[in-house]
Symmetry: C2
Subunit: 105 residues, 2 copies
């Protein structure tokens, strides 16, 4: 497995737009994406934390080539003012419940 | 939802023991735990990243009272040399595939 923890900072007051952008594609439909958590920072109203788990680094890199993702990055130009890769990881345990209202894969 | 991102540093060379400890209780069996990702840092061989998603802060706090968790913390005394809460979060999107070999909830 391959993982990332990323800290995103939106332009002031625009975190909700960034959430919409990040949630634009359901990860259930992204090949090789095992988990994709988008979480608001509890303190900084402009910060989002992304925790990703992929089957492999290759599947992650392939996802970045998808047209929807490329378009998303283009839209994010003025929306994202900070992008900090906190960690690149090798996930070893990934226990998840699908949320209520979300279909299991 | 309530979330945490935590950076743990094991005593030198003892990360595997820490993984075993962290994985001692399957989060499927922990009430209110929606996701629990344990990931090795790709660079620092003694660092683990934990990303947690809980139904509520209350369910997280309740989990800390479980006997197995309390025992785990007791065992971790010499094993964990660094505990850094990177972020407290409000997860807003949590898309997950159960891993191969893990039963869906």
């Amino acid at each position: 497995m391959y993982g990332l923890i990323v800290k995103l900072t939106s332009a002031p007051g625009r975190r909700d737009e960034l959430i919409t952008l990040m949630g634009g594609e359901d990860s259930h439909t992204v090949p090789g994406c095992l988990s994709f958590i988008v979480a608001e920072d509890a303190v900084d109203e402009n910060v989002l934390w992304i925790t990703e788990v992929w089957e492999s680094q290759a599947s992650h890199e392939a996802s970045l080539q998808a047209p929807a993702v490329k378009e998303g990055f283009a839209d994010a130009g003025t929306l994202i003012v900070g992008f900090e890769k906190i960690a690149t990881t090798k996930p070893v345990k990934n226990s998840s419940h699908p949320l209520h209202g979300e279909a299991a894969a």
